[in-house]
């Protein structure tokens, strides 16, 4: 009995310690955004890497997602004679759920994995230690610009995803399957409310922070050479994907 309790206590204490470590990492890095030197150039470089360079994959996935939604939505709604509601269905699905979540998963796979590998290689090749010995805080120089860039880029990428997805749905629903263009857009205008857009925006900001936070943390504490970098990269992508889905549920339940 005492052995089991002891083991349980050990597990809980370790979890609390690890969680504290991860949270402190984030808070320290974010606090350094308000301390000089202000690294605007580094932040812009990261926005280019995380945001602009992810735009192609976002455009591709968004257009196909919108097209599939248009196709599935059309044949489902036709059974009830409600094809005119296609615009609402596509827009609400994208703005509330699919836009933020799929954009986040794409950014996690493209930019998150690259960030973990980059920071991890900087760790194992002692580049982070070199920064430290030059009195340059690696959290401020390497991690903080990436976190801020994630916060800036993710809502923009999500907005692009939503718009392109809606156009993909339009292409299939209106151009190919013959739904009225007016019905497609007017249904959308009537059914999409501010709370839907706010919810999607909040999700994208939270997901952006989660993905880059996990990616940087895993890279920053990489150990044991190339194998360690590989392990850290896998863990970063898997952890951030799970967190995105878990937080998606939490935020959705808050806005419902």
């Amino acid at each position: 009995m005492f052995t089991v309790l002891g083991w349980l206590g050990h597990v809980v204490l370790r979890w609390v310690r690890n969680t504290g470590h991860v949270v402190l990492f984030l808070l320290q890095a974010l606090a350094l955004a308000f301390a000089p030197p202000f690294r605007f150039r580094r932040i812009l470089q990261e926005v280019f890497f995380i945001g602009f360079k992810s735009s192609t994959i976002i455009l591709l996935t968004a257009s196909f997602t919108g097209m599939v939604l248009g196709l599935q939505g059309y044949y489902t709604l036709r059974k009830f004679g409600s094809e005119s509601a296609l615009g609402s269905a596509v827009a609400l699905s994208l703005i509330r759920e699919l836009g933020p979540v799929l954009a986040a998963l794409m950014v996690s796979g493209r930019a998150g994995s690259a960030i973990t590998a980059e920071v991890g290689i900087m760790r194992i090749t002692e580049q982070l230690d070199a920064l430290d010995t030059m009195a340059v805080n690696p959290l401020q120089f390497v991690v903080m610009p990436k976190l801020l860039a994630g916060l800036i880029s993710m809502p923009l990428l999500t907005a692009i995803f939503d718009v392109v997805g809606i156009l993909g749905g339009y292409l299939v629903g209106v151009v190919l399957l013959g739904v009225s263009s007016g019905a497609y857009f007017s249904g959308m205008v009537q059914s999409v409310e501010n709370v839907d857009i706010h919810g999607g925006l909040v999700k994208s900001v939270v997901f952006g922070l989660l993905i880059i936070w996990v990616a940087c943390y895993k890279g920053y504490y990489t150990e044991r050479g190339a194998e360690g970098v590989s392990k850290a990269t896998t863990e970063a992508v898997v952890t951030s994907a799970v967190l995105v889905l878990a937080f998606d549920y939490l935020i959705t339940s808050f806005f419902m």
Partner: protein, 247 residues
């Protein structure tokens, strides 16, 4: 003077440093020798303030590094240069940008002055101007070490730490790096701490030698004193004898 007092450090449940006591004289080159994996680099990282010991003190001209705040450590590091084992050059920056990095980060020097200083340092470590625009992955191992040395010297540090400066280099390049360490030391007078197991070459640059074994300094003195040291562990290491128990 750098004084290490009873340093203890455990890593991965292994006592790496087990009461290290050592005095490193100012303005001299001190070489720390010992077998691979004995904790030499860990000791060097303690002096750089990258690792805090479990107990013990590191006094640098009376300033206790182990009890210093983050800000005090940052101030101390303005007096410090480190040459890392693999060079630790930033792979996204060119040679010029790597060497200029500490000046751009820590000073407000005009670009012309930065250019002048970078070129002086590159010339000091015998690197031609053509390498300025190359990236680290376009350089040989020896060139990387020389660029890293130029970067470590750019802020004219009072203390310069060398972590295995010749590991992985061929004998002529080993001689070149040791020659550069001696030359730059004579020119700038820094306090050098070199971690190496390149015996007997490393004795040529050393004013003072200390041997780390079993988590402690088991012998220290001038190179001549170390070579005459009667300790069988020291003699076995100097002769390069195979450790059959370990093998």
């Amino acid at each position: 003077m750098i004084k290490l007092i009873n340093l203890v450090r455990t890593l991965d449940n292994q006592r790496v440093l087990n009461g290290v006591n050592l005095e490193i004289p100012t303005g001299k080159i001190t070489v720390i020798i010992g077998k691979s994996g004995v904790g030499k680099s860990v000791l060097l990282k303690h002096i750089a303030g990258l690792i805090r010991p479990d107990s013990g003190s590191i006094l640098i001209d009376g300033f206790d590094l182990t009890r210093a705040s983050v800000r005090e450590i940052q101030e101390f590091r303005k007096r410090l240069g480190v040459l890392f084992q693999g060079g630790a050059l930033f792979d996204s920056l060119t040679v010029f940008e790597n060497v200029a990095f500490p000046l751009r980060e820590k000073t407000r020097l005009p670009e012309a002055e930065i250019q002048k200083r970078v070129r002086e340092r590159l010339a000091q470590v015998n690197l031609p101007p053509e390498v300025e625009n190359k990236y680290p992955d376009e350089l040989s191992g020896g060139m990387k070490k020389r660029v890293a040395l130029a970067r470590a010297l750019i802020q004219e540090p009072e203390i310069l730490l060398f972590d295995e400066p010749v590991t992985g280099l061929d004998p002529p390049m080993t001689n070149t790096i040791f020659h550069l360490i001696t030359k730059t030391h004579l020119e700038t007078g820094y306090t050098g701490v070199v971690v190496s197991h390149d015996i007997p070459k490393v004795f040529e640059i050393a004013d003072f030698v200390a041997m780390l074994h079993g988590g402690r300094i088991i012998a220290s003195g001038t190179p001549e004193e170390i070579q005459r040291c009667p300790d069988p562990v020291v003699q076995s290491f100097l002769r390069g004898e195979v450790d059959f128990l370990e093998a």
